[in-house]
Symmetry: C2
Subunit: 462 residues, 2 copies
């Protein structure tokens, strides 16, 4: 039995941030991580040549101040996402090259449709109160409509529709028919609007930490030292009048309070004693994760750059749906990242590995030439097959869920507090949101000490 002030479930950015805050405040803490690695839905792999691959969350953008602050604490620099040269769109068997965010070269009609839809969405986003999207004036209406319905009724051009569906529903790693319009608006608004979500320069994919996300979470874990326990999947949390007992397979941690930071579908697999309040346990049944496969292809050099290409491409319906340059700050070796999301991720996930690799390389060769066929390394991360992620990248809310269960996203249940990017009002769905949620949860438990202490009319001994 380990006895600490606070226990944290999950060693991703939310959990490590919360634990670090509590340690900085002089409290003892134990972090229980189910996997044999840290980082949660980020996962940096260092290669023998010293370069690194982000197998999960990778980017940062303007306004993401809390992950920036962590980087500053640990002296981690950032570097700009490579955007020189032309990007590519592949629609209806045709290839279009363009620069900037909107592919004007495709057709003015498509570009106009895209632009108008982004303006519309941006306008709707403005009326969402981030800390309580369920109180938006139109919340009830938007929460009984799906993102798919909105796209269907507001985007006339088929190509523009496909591109937006790929870009927006893709972010939820699910079909657009699965996602509540209210949730999509809220999530986009929490990042500053649809331009931020889709944008690269000045958007959510603006920059990356030098060394990858691991350059941030590794020193955080090091700072926490032996407070962080790996391979400890939490199976049961019992709370009583004096504290909580958290059981993993092998460890038992006794603490005053616990912060659970895992995705909602994973949180629902823990046995809570007593049972959670109905709203929270039903919420945990209602915010599923999606399917995403991220493939990193390593080449001797980023040959596409020499060909005047940025490496960025979007091809709705293709197994290599999205590509983006994923080189380190040195630009060597060449790393191209393929992101496949939602229905197509499930589809190609069913292929055998050799067949999938072949399919992906074929698609890349069509875009970037034959050099793409012979990567030195091919690293595949299928997040939906990860037991302790339950999918990726973020849990989305189907229709009706935010208006019915929204407040349960953050409301503590007795001595159990909730963190994780899904619980963040700002930058919900990004690494930065995870950091913010960890900070907020740590503050919550510390505030409870003051409440408890003043209730006992005696200060807590330091």
């Amino acid at each position: 039995m380990t006895d600490v002030d606070y226990c944290v479930v999950g060693g991703g950015f939310a959990g490590l941030t919360a634990a670090r805050r509590l340690k900085q405040a002089g409290r003892t803490v134990t972090v229980l991580e189910a996997r044999d690695r840290l980082g949660g839905r980020t996962f940096t792999e260092t290669r023998p040549d010293g370069s690194w691959i982000d197998r999960g969350g990778a980017w940062i953008g303007p306004g993401q101040d809390r992950i920036r602050a962590l980087m500053q604490d640990y002296g981690v620099a950032s570097y700009k996402q490579y955007t020189d040269g032309e990007a590519m769109m592949l629609v209806d068997g045709k290839q279009y090259r363009y620069t900037g965010t909107i592919p004007w070269s495709m057709s003015p009609w498509v570009a106009m449709n895209l632009g108008a839809a982004l303006l519309d969405l941006g306008h709707l986003c403005k009326s969402i109160p981030l800390d309580a999207p369920w109180t938006a004036e139109q919340a009830d209406r938007w929460d009984r409509l799906t993102l798919a319905h909105w796209l269907n009724t507001h985007v006339v051009s088929k190509a523009a529709h496909e591109l937006l569906e790929t870009a927006i529903a893709g972010a939820y790693t699910s079909a657009a028919s699965e996602v509540s319009l209210l949730f999509a608006l809220y999530q986009m608004a929490s990042g500053g609007g649809p331009g931020f979500v889709l944008g690269i320069e000045d958007g959510a994919q603006d920059s990356r930490p030098v060394g990858g996300m691991g350059a941030v979470y590794c020193p955080m874990a090091a700072e926490l030292g032996d407070a962080v326990m790996l391979a400890q999947p939490v199976r049961r949390i019992r709370q009583d009048a004096d504290g909580v007992t958290v059981f993993s397979g092998k460890m038992t941690v006794r603490a005053r309070r616990v912060i659970v930071t895992v995705p909602l579908a994973i949180a629902s697999q823990i046995r809570y004693e007593p049972i959670l309040p109905v709203d929270r346990s039903l919420l945990q049944q209602r915010m599923p994760s999606g399917a995403i496969i991220k493939i990193s292809l390593v080449y001797d050099e980023p040959f596409w750059r020499a060909d005047g290409l940025s490496g960025q491409s979007a091809a709705p319906g293709s197994p290599a749906t999205i590509t983006i340059d994923a080189c380190t700050d040195t630009g060597r070796p060449g790393v191209l990242c393929v992101i496949v999301e939602g229905p197509i991720a499930r589809q190609i996930g069913r292929l055998d590995p050799a067949e999938r690799r072949h399919t992906i390389l074929d698609a890349l060769a069509e875009r970037f030439g034959d050099k793409a066929r012979t990567p030195a390394d091919y690293i595949e991360q299928n997040w939906s097959a990860e037991r302790y992620s339950g999918g990726g990248m973020l849990s989305h809310a189907p229709t009706g869920v935010l208006t019915q269960f929204g407040p349960a996203l953050r409301a503590p249940c007795g001595r159990i507090h909730w963190a994780g990017t899904e619980s963040s009002a700002v930058m919900c769905g990004w690494v930065d949101g995870a950091v913010r949620s960890g900070e907020r949860a740590a503050e919550e438990v510390l505030e409870h000490e003051i409440v408890t202490a003043s209730a006992a009319r005696a200060p807590r001994p330091e």
Copy 2:
């Protein structure tokens, strides 16, 4: 380690039916039930005076032949739901009495709206292929719309809208905004259309087994004898080339195959080794249960009958949303059943028990007079607070789920087979559907024996 031919997880109607089939076929079987009682989402309590209360699923209707067949096997008679006298609707603070299904007395306008909506829904239901609703011609369109959206755009009268929302979304024990139109149509179609779902005479609430549902599941369990193990929550299922190992807290069962019959959200709490295919594990994150509280009030006699009332009432928005006569076949004592579903169930579930009781009795007194205030017994069943139900009555599909993940509802995952009313193409959501699913799953595993035996070119020793 218990060694049997087959293991069944869950001792509700699906599990007991499957186990019984397998035993009848000469196979050995173990049923692991998490609770200390059987019946799953049905639960019959026998009172000291010999009368019984169904705290969960209670009714049967025409076309529900498989539960009927079980009743015949065990010599269980049925009796008609009491429908004599007037039913009541309470809308906008006014009380309307009527007989039949449509409350013509309310206003011709409302009645016309109700009738037209039911005709429309019935028409849509006809084009749903029950065994694969995701292949309906309009499947994609209906699956990106919510039931709430359909009601909003098709039912003009506010009162008719409220009544339909209460009746239909109520059946899914969730808000109408949470439910896919395709799922609602499919579920209604699987019972024969909206008339069946809403109807009492000749509908889903036509009759009840004498002795309650327990009169059927108890003899089934008795027939299975010590094959049925209570208080064995299954935590882990491991499959290998030769069979499965099923772990509960205290027991380990080794079998050739396992049939999992629990609701999807509960099935997602089991640890599967190896991890389930992505489509199944994501489906299990996507079909949540709802909130339902069923309250049985026992009086010396059914005083409402003498007053010319059937006991049936519907009051959208009221904490006692629906009432129905729930006497046994003898009509003594008087049992009135209150059913509260979805958002209102969660709302009154948060009251303390005394306050909730007071609220319910107040509402009943307004409808049935002061005699309703003094029941001899007050029995409350909050299904959403039941750990091993995860809610009630059936798991619904949010938008996009059937078209994306529908086939995973029934597709076996290696040696794991799936049952439970949600997996039944016919009578999905009723006890009869649970029975059918148990029969289908038992057939599946027996068919696998033939396949395996013919593959080995040698008949399996009997």
